[in-house]
Amino acid sequence: MKLTEEQQAILDGSQGETLAKVMETMVRYGELFGADSMEKITGNYNHLVTSFGLKALKPVYDLLDQLIEAGVVSKQKFSADPRPMDKNVPSNFIQNFVFNNFMYTRQNEYEEQLRKLGLMDRDAFTRTCYMDEVGNTPKKGEVLSWSESSAVVYANSVLGARCNRNSGIIDVMGSIVGYVPRFGFLTDEGRKAKWIVEIRTSKKPEAQLLGSAVGMKVMEDVPYIVGLDKWLDGKLDDNAKTYLKDFGAATASNGAVGLYHVEGITPEAVEQGRALIGEGAKTYVIDDAELQRVYDSYPVIWKNKDARPKLCFMGCPHMSLEQLKSWTGKLENGLKESGNAKVLVSTVFTASPGVIKEFRKTDYAARLEKTGVILSYICPLMYMNNPLSEKMPVITSSNKLRTYTSARYYTDDEILNQLTKGE
């Protein structure tokens, strides 16, 4: 890799041993992927995947302490993934005991560390940092050092920013040196599609299911999606952004997609069209039968497969303002039809603190509360990722949550029926 004089000097220790090791980490990371140089980070803010003070991650906190003590921190502020706990979310005595005494024992300490490292503000905890209400929204072409697969795929695809699927710690270290190795999604060639995905469904495909199908097929490759624009009204409005948030998170968690193009919708596809399709691209056709096949392939890992759901989580990644409003209306109508006053399954809608703040300014907030739904900023994954919660029959329409936990996936309509009609 060709380094500038400044980068080489840092690597040689001109600014101390700790910063030299940070640079060595980034250079070796890039060399593995054939990076030819280090590219300057141009995004205003960083985003970190680690938001949880998990006892098991003590070595990470020790490493961050080492950086802080050596004065090796970034000037770039950042957002981070959601907090793992919220007292408003239903949990029993034993769960609370495990969360507080075995799992997230370092939460306060870690949040203090994040503040020292440059957290944007005390509530900058969400996977949907790119939403207007949060304020970490990169511009097209900006170079980032982000981690968090769902945020990276959104930034690359919907915003046209340039970021690789970085691991936690690499995100921080890139930001500290101010450069990331130039490979993969930072290059024009790396942004070319290796797959053409043709959507031939009879109705608007469920975003989470479509993303799952695409992710499982193309894995880490870039897909160019045709035939989806007609279901998104041909424009990248708030509804389309919400759809692509859920679609992208499913491609990234069910596969390892870091970038997709949607013909006529996403910025690079609008500008370059099919010139984005690489030579020899393979084709994957998705129709109603294919989506059904994917849906039927999900294993149900509940001990009692016929158990009555005990909890429903919606919003992984966090829901948008538009989703909170539309779901409020759907629940009201469903409950009215069934004659029920409140949802029949204990339900938590999750959204970023910024979105929740805006939502509470509307009359929808009181209406949602009336349906019995709990609104929280929690990370459902962190709630579920322990042996006690794993045993609970939890339902969700998040394919990310399904992939990483024992939660069972249902489509939005199926979830609505279970919540309002109990069927």
Binding site: L32, V60, S149
Partner: protein, 147 residues
Amino acid sequence: MKTFKGRVVSKGNVSAPALVSHEGLNTLASFQKALQFGDKKATCGDQNNKDLYGKQMAGKALCLPRTIGSTTGGLVLYCAASMHRQPACMLFSEPIDSLAAAGAILADVWLRDVTMPVIDSLGEAFLAYVKDDMKITIKEDGTVEVE
């Protein structure tokens, strides 16, 4: 005995029994419980991985195509190494992914008393040949002997 040659990601010489996953290793799902609840053997906790679930990963020559899952993957591997619960080595049939690469490099650069040699690009034939408990010997030049 068969010999395979790959690319050295983190160098080292080691000999250990093989543990084989034909699916991608979900690093967070596999290691989280072991790190959380003090399991020094690093028993794999990923119920979705039929090859590894319930098996000891610490001290084994972990043979796999790639890692998958959360972008915490690299830091989880770093933690496993820091807590001395890492595999003896990691042997990838495919070119290494960015998350495993991060874990391997972080361990190599930042941990003084820990080694976790990593070799990638060993090819599909390697993963088709190697079975659990075969003896694996790796060398600093990326040579992997399987017997």
